[in-house]
């Protein structure tokens, strides 16, 4: 007669394998979703291409997102602003016609927010522009994106790391962002 836990372990092996495979499946599913269906790259109502505007034509970010300089909110340009150029430029493109339709009907375009912070985070664009930050540091190389995607996690860790690196005065005080 003898005793050992090994036989039991053998018996339990299939259970362990099922659990293991299930766990691996969980990881695969999680990352597959994140990789193939990222909520971070929404399809906009009008396929505006930053590659064309900010990349090819090198229009500065603040030309359209002009509020970022003086307001906590960067804002998106009004249809009016689009038409400022597109009354003359590329007027026969179907996308531009769509924009023009909005303009004529006085209908706003419901852009989908890509970089969406929780409501309890108060991020002032103007302060960051004033500090000389490039838009790309948080928003990624938008000028290369046909469809804007959220590159950075925009989570607290990212804010903190930057605030620490830049030695922002009292930059890690919670009240800086949360109020």
């Amino acid at each position: 007669m003898g005793v050992s836990i090994v036989p039991t372990l053998r018996v339990l092996k299939p259970v362990g394998m099922i659990a293991g495979v299930g766990f691996v499946g969980l990881l695969v599913g999680y990352f597959a979703n994140a990789a193939f269906f990222p909520g971070t790259t929404p399809v906009q109502p009008i396929e505006f291409s930053h590659t064309v505007h900010a990349g090819d034509y090198e229009i500065p970010c603040l030309y359209c997102h002009t509020q970022a300089r003086r307001s906590p909110s960067a804002g998106v340009p009004s249809v009016n602003k689009c038409m400022g150029c597109h009354a003359i430029v590329a007027t026969d493109s179907p996308l531009i016609r769509e924009v023009a339709r909005h303009y004529e009907n006085d209908e706003p375009i419901p852009w989908i927010k890509v970089h969406d912070l929780p409501d309890f985070v108060h991020f002032p664009h103007n302060r960051h522009v004033a500090a000389g930050l490039e838009c790309q540091e948080c928003h990624g190389p938008v000028e290369t994106m046909d469809r804007v995607t959220r590159m950075a996690p925009n989570e607290m860790g990212q804010c903190l790391t930057c605030h620490k690196d830049m030695e922002v005065e009292h930059g890690i005080d919670c009240l800086t962002c949360h109020k």
Binding site: G75, S78, Y103, P108, I109
Partner: protein, 803 residues
Amino acid sequence: MPNVDRRNFLKLVGAGGVGAGAGFMLSESRKHPVEHLVPYPVPPEEFSPGIATWYNSVCSMCSAGCGISVRTREGRAKKIEGNPAHPVSQGRLCALGQSGLQALYNPDRITGPLVRAGRRGEIEFDPTTWEESFAELANQLELMRTAGRGGGVALLTGGVRGHLASLLELFMGWLGSDQLLHYDFNHPATLYAANERFFGESNLPYYDIENSRYVLSFGADFIGHWLSPVHHGLGFGRSRQARDGDRGRFVQIEPRMSLTGAAADEWIAANPGTEGVLALGIARRIVDQGGYQGTDLDAWQAALDGYAPDAVAEQTGVLPDTVARLADSFAETQPGLAIGGGAPANHSNGVDALVAVNALNHLVGNIGVEGGVIFNPPPAFGPEASRHASLARMLELAEDARAGRIELLIVSNTNPVFNLPEASGFAEALADIPQIVSLSSFLDETTAHADLVLPSNTYLESWGDDTPSPGVGFRVGAVSQPVVEPLYDTRATGDIVLELAHRMGLDLAFPWPNMEEYLKYSWREVWSNGTPDPSIPDFDTFWTSVVRAGVWGDETRAPGGEFVPDAGVVEGIGVGAPEFAGAEGEFPYALHPYLSNGLHDGRGANLPWMQELPDALTGVVYGTWIELNPETADELGLSDGDVVAIESPAGAIEAPVLVYPAIMPGVVAMPIGQGHEEYGRYAEEHGVNPINVLAAETEPATGALAWAATRVRLVPTGGRADLVRVSGEARELGREIVQIADAGTPAAAVNAPAVAAAGAGAPGVRLASGARAAAGIDAPTAGAEAATANTRLNSIPITVVNT
């Protein structure tokens, strides 16, 4: 993988599948919900999301006429603060004024024109269009006008001033009707009458509390809601602690301690209605002690003959020593100020009592001097004669209605069905009026009787102007501008009237397309009458700067001239015994109704902030109670929460008892403001309306409702109702939470001037974000057409005066 049989293989595949699915869902659930960024198709010029724009305007929550600054973000009003440039509010604002936002954003606002669908008073309305309503109403008005029956139109409004009042006057004039009535429960009609009698001037004077060193107040709750509470508050604070080593003293005389009484250094309860007698007792003592040396001394002595200390003491219940002490210190401490209002002013002898108070000011030489009573100049614009309706006048209107003389009643911004005693029969009289049109923003008790509802904008969506009364001792005018676009399909009252006039074919008489144009037109006159200022070359500049500043006027008070009362007036001075409705034997307690701090006369009841604002003295929210002296409560065997029936000769209501330590034993007090049957979700089904048990007793000289002149009896019902209150134990138990210094302690005045300046000049964030506010100079709101942001222009035509 060794020895994986088919079964196990399937299990593994299943496990993998379930795991992957779970992982997928997990990842999905962590994604942000979609949010949209919706920009303007064409943004208003210089509109900046994320940056606040401030607009100056005028508060319309009560009749004080405080200047306000409204903070807006993305076209929505966010906060109301006092306009620092406005001499009445000087950047400050009371609770009710701040909750004006909830009038604007009230969920129970009427969102468009309504026409009655069911029977009167059943509150069944169908939506209709402005076009239809205007067409019909204008047609009816025009028919009546041309048929000479214009007199059958009655227009009943709240306390309106400025050019809207002029416009209504003009409109009614064209209709040929003199039934233009302003009804405001809190209107100090007796004070106007007393001033008319004593000063020969039917106007409110300026009470310079700030510079006064001794304030003797006969029932005037001037910090709570009397005349201009914010301005009085400023004066009170500064009289207390802003003068180095010279703390103003303040005595309040009233049967039930009000908010103001609680702030007083000394609170004295005189028998209800005998405050005037006390004033004359004090006057006599002053005269006796040689405090008055005028040429008409003899006349005074004669007039005050009947007010010997003992007689006064017997009538008022105030000890002769106290009377003497008050008189001596009042005479000694100059400048002093005697003011009267509240219950004594609204008693059967109200005018006499207020004349007596005026007399006190005269005897110690406080008329026209700093720290005393200062006369206001006539208002810069607006109708000359007051159209304020007394109870008697309202009864007349009701009588006219019953006699069929009123064919059409237009009600705007007033709620007489709620604010008039049931005994007046006003609500019943409405049934005899064939057509009732309400211009109210809310479905209140009066609007419930309407056949047609043409909802007006709130004041935050309308153009208007105002001349504050009692003002500040010099000319002030203020323009109120819309700070947001109208939320609903509603119109400004002025615009409705103008539209009606146009549709009636009165274009020539009313050439202005809208209220804004009418204001501009009218203010041209104000501008041309004003002192020329080289920095303001034309009217447009003037108008822009006035709208931006929100206020216009003089800077200094005119020196007061010598004042001598008419001999006849002196001769006629005297205060009779108060008369009550209800015999003392049958109705042992004098009912002392008072305006609630937050709900005012009931108009604040639909504002949730005001409903949840704990009563300043009892901490009760959402309810009505009856205050009893502990002694009275003991006699009746009542304690907090016991429900009693309050029965007067005119009616009965039920309310829970609240034992209140600072009320005379023979008096019971109830707050006005609750007991709405209509008026929206926040107002309905809370408390009772004590106005309903008031007898339709009038003050003989003015016909005003003597609301302090009803006696009641209390009948315990055996029921209990727990009062909702935020306070726990109301005694300190020796814990020294509120610590007391004796009078010898130096004032905090070291820096008071600095504080005062900061208070006047630095409202909240505005200065702090001055640069950015400046960027918003020309930012018209998402709202009104040419509304102009508040900015600190160098040429604001008025500066605050701290004389």
